[in-house]
Symmetry: C2
Subunit: 153 residues, 2 copies
């Protein structure tokens, strides 16, 4: 029954069915944002996840990996890799936990705080770049929508 139609070579490709699909539009936007953020953080030797982990450790000295996993909404197993990378870079140390000998107290080094401060400025600029053209209210709506969707988990 599938007739081998001729190709619409120069013709426009219709994406009508996908324009209504908000999840797909979000994916495409996120891909662009993610690519820009990767380029933004690359000079610092960071990615979105290592940057986010570093931010949480800077602001919560003594944080344990399991707490970090919860805060980042990822599995514990993946956090091991982020902390490995941050530790190899000399930005974070795994200090022994005084309360629980199974756990570690994640501490930020001076170099870690310094790279974070510089990266933070770059990330703020990235955010502003991505949201340029939206009003304050529209950005507020965006944040509200993200929080709402995240709460659907």
């Amino acid at each position: 029954m599938a007739r081998p139609d001729a190709i619409a070579d120069g013709a426009e490709v219709s994406d009508a069915a996908l324009r209504d699909f908000v999840g797909y539009q979000m994916k495409r936007a996120f891909n662009v944002l993610q690519a820009d953020l990767t380029r933004t953080l690359e000079p610092f030797g960071l990615r979105m996840l290592t940057y986010s982990a570093l931010a949480l450790i800077v602001q919560n000295p003594g944080l344990r990996p399991s707490q970090l996993a919860t805060a980042l909404a990822v599995e514990r197993a993946n956090v091991v890799v982020y902390v490995d990378q941050l530790e190899e870079a000399g930005w974070v140390i795994r200090a022994p936990s005084p309360e629980d000998r199974r756990a570690y107290a994640l501490q930020c080094t001076l170099a870690g705080r310094r790279v974070y401060a510089r990266a933070e400025a770059a990330v703020k600029a990235h955010d502003a770049r991505m949201l340029h053209g939206l009003t304050r209210d529209e950005v507020g709506t965006l944040r509200k929508a993200f929080a709402l969707i995240e709460g659907r988990a």
Copy 2:
């Protein structure tokens, strides 16, 4: 200089630095949406990308893989895999292109149109589920923001 502070064990973890980071909030929301969509499409043997590819082939009979890659905003090499899977499932065929012997005219089978129709209904329900709680205007703002960010590429 890095003092091994005590762990704030039961204490709240501050994510103040990340609450301002819109890209990160978007990532978290997208992770939740993506997980829900994966569950939604799993019964049909589809994922976001194979569903999207199928939608474009249904609506654009004779589409060539390179056109599909452009429409999906992914590299040609990745499209090969999507088409392989759709073809193995019996939903799409690679018909010879009458104009260019290097190319294929992608055609949808009857089974392909049927599974797409059923999956489309499920995806619409998924979208509604994710956006429930937002006004029509807010969803409009969301779409506008996604289009704007995607245009930053």
